[in-house]
């Protein structure tokens, strides 16, 4: 997908810029980084990302790496995951972390919010079925607590269960005796994270980055 020459091609950059919203400079910088990570090949693999030292101490490392190869993040109705990605997909993932531009309308802001939350949702929903089940949620909490020593899976279970209960009570309210809560759907996910301003918090300052100096 998207084979690039080693010299930056303006036309291709421009199409990418239109698609993802990055400026040409930012795309050039990210392309350098892509080449650095993929050792000058045209595609990136999971192992390439695993070599990044900064990710070593990150508790949700595997989820982050997985997100790069998840087809759902590339296009609307993608399913499954791929083994390797090209620069275009890399840029698409990065575009989820752009800050909202200053003058955008409410609908655009809401759209951006949904897109970012969808990205987060896909990270949790590993089996692609559209809901975050209790098991998946438990897994998330365990990962978060995994770097903090052996505090037991039970505490993680307890926390995940309490969180699930909270989601249920917020989204569904009263439930009949025979019902049970299947899992968090995307709509419920939107509701519980209404308090966090995702569109401003989930961003990286791509403004001034010189990645060639800071290696790895």
């Amino acid at each position: 997908m998207g084979s690039f020459q080693s010299l930056p091609d303006d036309h291709q950059y421009r199409t990418l810029s239109q698609k993802t919203g990055f400026s040409l400079d930012q795309i050039a910088i990210l392309h350098n980084r892509f080449k650095q990570l993929s050792q000058n090949e045209e595609t990136l693999r999971r192992d390439d990302l695993k070599t990044i030292q900064d990710l070593e101490s990150n508790p949700i490392r595997s989820e982050i790496i997985e997100a790069f190869f998840d087809r759902r993040n590339f296009q609307k109705d993608g399913v499954g995951s791929v083994e390797e990605i090209g620069f275009e997909e890399f840029l698409t993932i990065m575009s989820y972390f752009r800050a909202p531009p200053h003058h955008i309308t409410e609908e655009q802001r809401e759209e951006m919010r949904r897109a970012k939350l969808r990205f987060l949702f896909n990270m949790h929903d590993t089996d692609n079925d559209g809901t975050i089940t209790l098991e998946e949620y438990r897994h998330v909490v365990e990962e978060l607590l995994s770097r903090s020593g052996a505090l037991g899976r039970e505490t993680a279970k307890g926390i995940a269960d309490a969180a699930m209960l909270e989601v249920a009570s917020i989204s569904v309210g009263h439930m009949a005796p025979d019902e049970f809560y299947e899992g968090i759907t995307f709509e419920h996910f939107l509701k519980i994270l209404k308090g966090i301003e995702i569109e401003t918090r989930m961003h990286i300052r791509f403004l001034n980055m010189d990645t060639t100096v800071l290696c790895k």
Binding site: E63, E135, V140, V141, R147, A163, M164, L165, P177
Partner: protein
């Protein structure tokens, strides 16, 4: 109500009049005095206590008058009371006391600042640190110089008394009057509940501009004494600013670390834990004041540094004590400050000059507006969340002046500054203007402009989980980009904190506890305590709601002590570590209050059991028909049913953990064992199925007879 207030005022006045009376002994032979008056002996503490008592009664009175507290902010009312009291004293022929600067800076100000610093919301503060610093430093400098220079210009133009003001005096006056006052800002902003961002901007600015004010004040005072200013002096002034600010912060940080370290060893003497917090903070303030460093910044730094570690170490009761004592002291201080402002207004020598005063007020407003607009224009280029026009208006309008300006002016020596009285008058007028006019109108303006209010923060475990997830995600993405930004450094700081600092400063196993778990525990504890408060009677059987079908109501029994012990054992088996952590928050070594502890622990456990039951009903596969036979067998066969329960729990979790065995094809979920006791707890959301509980009921009844 009004009569009551009048009487109180009268009592105030009389009390103060009596202060000066001396009873002199008659000449000649004295009869043995059965009853005598010796007021001098208790004069000082008596007066202080009387002031504080009457101030607090005033505060009480205001809140009893329903409409008043909604319209007029408390600070205004207190100043009016001070004016009345001062007037009363003047009428009685005595000289009203003036707000002594030493008293103000050493006794009245620190509690307010410590309260603000200890409970400073760290996240919004650090996120907006750049903006706050810009407003505090650059904004205050701009204000000081603009007001000073413009005033000098006006004085030059004006002939007469004002012509004697030289540039340095004007600049000094400008620097005193331009500092936004934390006390006034707190007093007014507390009541209007605007959103967090604006609150932290104005409030943070008022705290951090202390360094600038201190430096400018001493600088101009020195220069006025010396007479001439050289370029070298200006350079030294700049250096002085950095020394004052950073020195204050460092002093505060050192004391904060000491306090955190001390709190690690207080597990055996819980009673004096709050004392350490207060003493170390106060010492930080005083130590900074010794070297003319910024005491306010020292106090803030001390509170911020010590808080996470101290809170992990101290007991829950100590935490509550600290919170309430700080609130109490700061409230009393604030009340006294405003009342004294009022009294000092009546007392102090005044030199009223229409031109000076009106020009001052006008210049203050103008410089504030210009400063805020200009700085925001520059700052918005670097901010992610831009400050809109409305935000700028509130920030500009919220720049209130207060007692610090007054006290600083009061400290001026009359020899160097013969126009001190005029300064004082002008400052008092500015203070009154900002507190009354701006303070009273800001609330309707906030409503009119539809500024975002503070949102009710619910303690949500989901938000906490996702916030942490997001932080790690952003740090990871920054790693992938190779970009060392905010998140990367914050992540590094957190890891450094966890590995090195927490190990030193937090005692016991809590040093390893991650934030998520402590948050969860705190939330649980809060919920349990809420349950404790709502069930005011110890008889839990009365809490059965109407949702319980009628045939079960006769089965609700009181829970005996042995049952409680058994429940405790079961739960301990499953939730050991979390339980211990909760224990540490509720234990105290004051008195053998064992019943209290047991009861609260029991209720904590009930709440936990209740929550598990709710969870089981939500998260359970409705394949309950399969499980009861499996459960009943071991339970019935054992006469001591509870010895079997742990094994029942284990067997159930084993059963459901094999996914493929779930024939319905639903996702596996865990079922917690239903305890018979649970039916007595209030049912919130769902009922267990009718097929199960009758068996358990029978079990229960069978065993207790």
């Amino acid at each position: 109500m009004k009569m009551l207030l009048l009487l109180l005022l009268l009592g105030f006045g009389c009390g103060l009049v009596f202060c000066d009376q001396n009873t002199s002994d008659p000449h000649g032979r004295r009869v043995f005095p059965v009853l005598s008056i010796n007021y001098d002996y208790v004069q000082m503490p008596f007066e202080v206590s009387l002031w504080i008592l009457l101030a607090s009664l005033m505060k009480l009175g205001f809140h009893l008058i329903p409409r008043l507290s909604g319209v007029v902010p408390e600070s205004c009312l207190l100043i009016v009371v001070g004016l009345l009291v001062g007037g009363l004293i003047r009428v009685m022929g005595k000289n009203p006391p003036v707000l002594d600067s030493q008293l103000f800076f050493l006794c009245l100000l620190p509690p307010i600042i410590l309260d603000a610093g200890y409970f400073l919301p760290i996240r919004p503060f650090t996120e907006n640190a750049g903006t706050i610093l810009t407003f505090a430093v650059v904004g205050t400098l701009w204000n000081a110089f603009f007001v000073g220079a413009a005033l000098y210009g006006v004085c030059r133009l004006e002939s007469g008394r004002l012509a004697s003001f030289d540039l340095l005096s004007c600049l000094l006056f400008g620097s005193i009057v331009s500092a936004v006052d934390p006390v006034a800002v707190l007093a007014v902003f507390e009541e209007i509940h605007i959103n967090e961002l604006l609150h932290i901007l104005v409030f943070g600015e008022s705290l951090l501009n202390d360094a600038v004010t201190v430096v400018l004040y001493h600088l101009f005072e020195e220069f006025a004494h010396a007479g001439a200013v050289t370029a070298g002096d200006v350079f030294l002034g700049v250096v002085c600013f950095f020394v004052v600010a950073l020195g204050g912060v460092m002093v505060g940080a050192v004391y904060g670390v000491l306090a955190a370290f001390t709190s690690r060893f207080t597990s055996h003497t819980r009673v004096i834990e709050p004392l350490f917090v207060f003493l170390y903070s106060y010492m930080a303030y005083l130590s900074a004041e010794v070297f003319h460093l910024s005491g306010i910044m020292a106090l803030i730094a001390c509170g911020v540094v010590m808080r996470p570690y101290v809170e992990a170490n101290i007991s829950h009761k100590s935490y509550t004590t600290i919170k309430y004592f700080l609130k109490m002291w700061s409230s009393v201080s604030e009340t006294l400050i405003f009342i004294f402002l009022g009294v000092s207004t009546v007392a102090g020598p005044h030199a009223w000059n229409w031109t000076f005063v009106t020009i001052t007020i006008f210049l203050c407003l103008l410089s504030r507006v210009l400063g805020v607009v200009g700085l925001t224009y520059i700052i918005n280029k670097y901010r992610m969340v831009k400050l809109s026009g409305k935000d700028q208006f509130i920030v500009a309008y919220g720049g209130l002046r207060g007692a610090i300006a007054f006290s600083l002016a009061f400290l001026l020596s009359r020899d160097d500054f013969p126009m001190k009285d005029m300064f004082l008058t002008a400052i008092i007028t500015v203070i009154f203007f900002t507190v009354f006019v701006q303070g009273m109108t800001i609330r309707p303006l906030v409503d009119l402009l539809a500024v975002k209010k503070r949102k009710q923060s619910k303690c949500s475990i989901n938000e906490e989980i996702h916030t942490q997830f997001l932080e790690h995600l952003l740090a990871g993405i920054e790693g992938v980009c190779g970009h060392y930004g905010h998140h990367h450094w914050r992540d590094k700081l957190n890891r450094f904190n966890k590995h090195y600092i927490k190990r030193c400063l937090i005692g016991g196993e809590r040093s390893q506890e991650p934030k998520l778990i402590s948050f969860y525990n705190k939330m649980e504890l809060k919920q349990a305590l809420m349950l404790l408060e709502s069930n005011s009677s110890a008889n839990l059987s009365t809490a059965v709601t109407a949702a319980v079908p009628r045939q079960r109501s006769r089965k609700t029994l009181n829970i005996s002590k042995e049952r409680e012990e058994e429940i405790r054992k079961i739960l301990r088996a499953n939730l050991q570590k979390t339980r211990q952590r909760l224990r540490s928050y509720s234990r105290h070594t004051l008195m053998p209050d064992a019943e209290d502890d047991d009861w609260s622990e029991t209720l904590l456990r009930k709440q936990r059991v209740e929550m598990e039951r709710r969870m089981s009903h939500f998260l359970t596969v409705p394949a309950r028909r399969e499980s009861p036979p499996a459960r009943r067998a071991p339970v019935e066969s054992d006469s001591r049913a509870l010895a079997a329960r742990p094994s029942v729990l284990i067997s159930i979790s084993d059963e459901t953990s094999d996914g493929p065995r779930e024939s319905r094809g639903r996702k596996p979920s865990v079922k917690f064992a239903l305890d018979a006791e649970e039916q007595k707890l209030p049912r919130c959301l769902s009922d267990p199925g009718p097929d199960q509980l009758p068996e358990e009921d029978e079990e229960h009844i069978h065993q207790t007879d």
